[in-house]
Amino acid sequence: MLNRQGRPTTPGVGSAETHATFTGNRAILQEEALLFELGRADATGVDFDEPEPFIARLGTLERTGDIGLPGLSEPEAVRHYVRLSQRNFSIDTGPVPLGSCTMKHNPRLNERMARLPGFADVHPLQPVSTVPGALALMQELAAWLMEITGMPAISLSPRAGAHGELCGMAAIKSAIAAKGEAATRKVVLVPDSAHGTNPATAAMVGMPVRAVPVRADGTVDPAEVAKLVGPDIAALMITNPNTCGLFERDIAEIARIVHEAGAYIYCDGANLNAIMGRARPGDLGIDAMQINLHKTFSTPHGGGGPGSGPVVLSARVSAFAPLPLLRTGADGVELVEVGADADEARPFGRLSAFHGQMGMFVRALTYMLSHGGDGLAQASDDAVLAANYIRVGLADLMSLPFGNRLCMQEVLFDDAWLKDSGVTTLDFAKAMIDEGYHPMTMYFPLVVHGAMLIEPTESESKASLDLFVATLRDLALAARAGDSERFTGAPYYAPRRRLDETRAARQPVLRWTPPAPIAEAAE
């Protein structure tokens, strides 16, 4: 007998809501103080011996006074960061159906490969003769990306998607300058549905933005583009598949109009995950497009980076790729680091130090080799299938602004169906949190009211998709039935309830400062 002591074996009764804990913890969900409240000036988690006495060569510039950094022993540090980690929702926790973000599974083989000393412990400026494998890897990655997109050239420099946009637009701007049209071709056309990075990028290359209205079916109308192009137009920045989850089916016609008017097409490639093996941007008339390796090619998001945004380029703009360049020469892959060695190429400059996000290149190539051409195409097919499966599962309850039609890798709902329910898109998203889901992308794109953009990716099983649909149906029915409390107070079960963002912005507290001494505080 295990239980001779009278230890009860049946559950007790009582509501959790009424029992606050002394610590504020809720069992394994721990509250965690700030590093600055935990650490001490004389604590450390590393052991090094003091150097032997020596004569410093710091001139008059030795740091005096305390820096004020707290230190933790190793056990304390491990506990601090493990507890923090447990307060995050991640793709390993459950579905993160953020439209436009492509939160797919991050294979751990990628991580192991990126940590091979031959990749991780290699310096960007050690002799090129000691890194042939690194250059070969970059060349291999480049070859795969060019094959997938059908584009003839690539730059691996950009450090994220927006940086890739900058790279592509800079190449376009240089091509325009090379034709002697720098002074006249200045305006960039950007559809209303574009991601914020698109107009922000145009501004960074010194080009004003003119909006292209999106037609009633959620796509760009070639007739509208034809009206807007002219000798002052530098480029059209278009997203395809677009941010409404739709393929821009008139893209070839649009490209023809833009090119005939002497301008260029930048494509935001954030949604490449929909079309691998189904369409190649090189066949669509695109001049430059970034590929977010942290979306389509599974490099982890890490709570906001690092990313990587290689840019594929058409023959019309390929001469203007930034430094460094990769080139195949007599002795294999060569790294061109200075403009003088660029031969016929005319790089527009350098976008960042060194050669790009190597750690992300390794992960992305690992992912590609694992999938192969067949697996990548299947991934796109499955991603599109999953999005459509969700669409048909919810179409009778939630409103589709562009009708119940086929979508690509993401499905866009608006908030028309919530009218008069007292529930907003934000409330609905927060109620999803209580159900154990990361919310979808909300209030983007801006072209529909109260947008809810859902991208399941190919990584969800059918059972997972079924439960997701059933959950959203239950929520939708509750919202329609007027159970607004389930929404407006949500989340109830997350580590924090809704946070006061107004207060954060009005009285910004952007760093920890030591608490005032007791005596002062008492005044």
Partner: protein, 446 residues
């Protein structure tokens, strides 16, 4: 395919539910003329073991820094990173989470960002720091753009001691925006007259310390003159570890401090991913690029953290944003923050002293080699050596002997007449044997 959960049966059922007969039909919106038919030119999928074998073969062709004596720096540094750091950043909930736009389920990210911002403020001696940008060089480029917004001027002056890649990034961004840049000549011995370049048209002066040649620079006089003319001082560092031993730029009058955080918590990675640090004075916060985390309370009054002041950012302000940056360097910033928490005040100061001691020892040993001249009066863990031969040849000869001896200045500044100059770095990872090996090998190849 091990990463794809749907079976053929699942796909069949789902296609039926969607109301199409085939996958092909799902893509009906792509006009036939533009359709691709798979990716037949790419190899088929592979098992983990096979992929690992292929990549290991490529990795084996590269010579890792840890394989022998290693003295390469110039903007990226090999330091010892405790095992705990890499373990913690690989926690699923850190590695695979999205940007914390849903703060209720991202307090772990947001709290570390708040801690990171504070650590960066303390290190640099500034009031506010953002939650990271891509790397040091892009931080530098963004800082110049920010200075232009603050001062409503459009001319930057770059010190000749600024890392040439950083200077190139500034020039590239400035050319795109139509701004002016004056770059002073390469300044090996920190003797340039920056003061003379400052006048009422200048928006900012950009000075690196320790500079690319290793010299420490006193920024106060430059700050004073800049301020007298309504310009800003942007201080740059490429070796974050130096801040444990060297006067903080914020204590020498800097208005914006930017730098590379790689050397705390992050591997060399052949150049990336790294983490850009970006700090400024409180009064300029609304002109700052990048994400910011701020403290607030939740509906129950509990302390919590959110992304804030986002009206500076592209997703709200679009073409009027302070930058186009979106994804930045989250996980590398976390690695930085964890490593710095493990070091703490005592650990950072000690490791910084060890670095300096290592470099002093090496400088003394190299200085004793005939025909070798150390050009620095001051330095932290890196300095410039003048050789009797082209440094690139010397580095190649040393590499053939299994020693990575530094960065030839000609690699960064070709045609600048500095071909016999070599940048040499020594950190806590170098042993006395490493240094002796470099000295001996140098004597042989000269």
């Amino acid at each position: 395919m091990r990463y794809l959960p749907l079976s053929e049966t699942d796909r069949g059922e789902m296609l039926a539910r969607v109301g199409v007969r085939s996958m092909d039909e799902l893509f009906a919106d792509i006009p036939q003329a533009m359709r691709a038919h798979g990716l037949p030119k790419l190899p088929r999928h592979k098992g983990e073991m096979e992929v690992e074998r292929l990549l290991s073969r490529l990795a084996a062709q590269n010579r890792p820094a840890g394989a022998g004596p290693f003295f390469v720096g110039a903007g990226a540094y090999k330091h010892y990173v405790p095992a705990t750091v890499d373990h913690l950043i690989q926690r699923s909930e850190f590695l695979t989470g999205y940007t914390p736009y849903q703060p209720e389920i991202a307090q772990g990210f947001l709290q570390y960002m708040f801690e990171f911002q504070t650590q960066v403020c303390l290190l640099t001696g500034m009031d506010v720091a953002n939650a990271s940008v891509y790397d040091g060089s892009t931080a530098c480029g963004e800082a110049v753009l920010m200075a232009h917004r603050v001062t409503r001027r459009r001319k930057a002056v770059l010190s000749g001691g600024l890392h040439p890649h950083y200077a190139e990034v500034v020039r590239t961004l400035s050319a795109l925006g139509g701004d002016t840049v004056e770059t002073l000549a390469p300044d090996v011995r920190a003797t340039e007259d920056l003061l003379a370049a400052i006048d009422d048209t200048v928006s900012c002066v950009v000075v690196q310390t320790p500079d690319v040649f290793g010299n420490l620079r006193d920024l106060q006089a430059i700050a004073d003159k800049a301020h007298a003319h309504g310009a800003l001082l942007i201080a740059v560092f490429t070796e974050a570890m130096s801040l444990g031993l060297v006067t903080a730029p914020g204590d020498m009058g800097a208005d914006i401090v930017v730098g590379e955080g790689q050397s705390i918590g992050n591997a060399l990675n052949f150049g990336g991913p790294y983490v850009g640090l970006f700090a400024t004075r409180a009064k300029f916060v609304r002109q700052m690029p990048g994400r910011l985390c701020g403290e607030t309370v939740d509906a129950e009054g509990k302390r919590g953290f959110v992304l804030t002041l986002s009206t500076r950012e592209q997703h709200i302000r679009r073409e009027k944003a302070t930058s186009n940056m979106c994804t930045s360097s989250g996980l590398c910033a976390l690695a930085f923050s964890i490593h710095l928490a493990l070091l703490g005040e005592v650990g950072l100061r000690r490791v910084a002293r060890i670095n300096h001691a290592a470099a002093v020892k090496l400088a003394d040993a190299l200085g004793a080699v005939p025909d070798v001249e150390i050009l620095n009066d001051t330095f932290f863990n890196e300095f410039t050596v003048k050789l009797p031969k082209p440094a690139a040849d010397v580095v190649a000869a040393l590499a053939a002997k299994g020693i990575l001896g530094g960065v030839p200045v000609s690699r960064l500044l070709p045609g600048a007449g500095l071909d016999d100059h070599l940048l040499v770095a020594s950190t806590e990872v170098n042993t006395d044997d490493d240094r002796a090996a470099l000295v001996a090998a140098l004597q042989e190849v000269l």
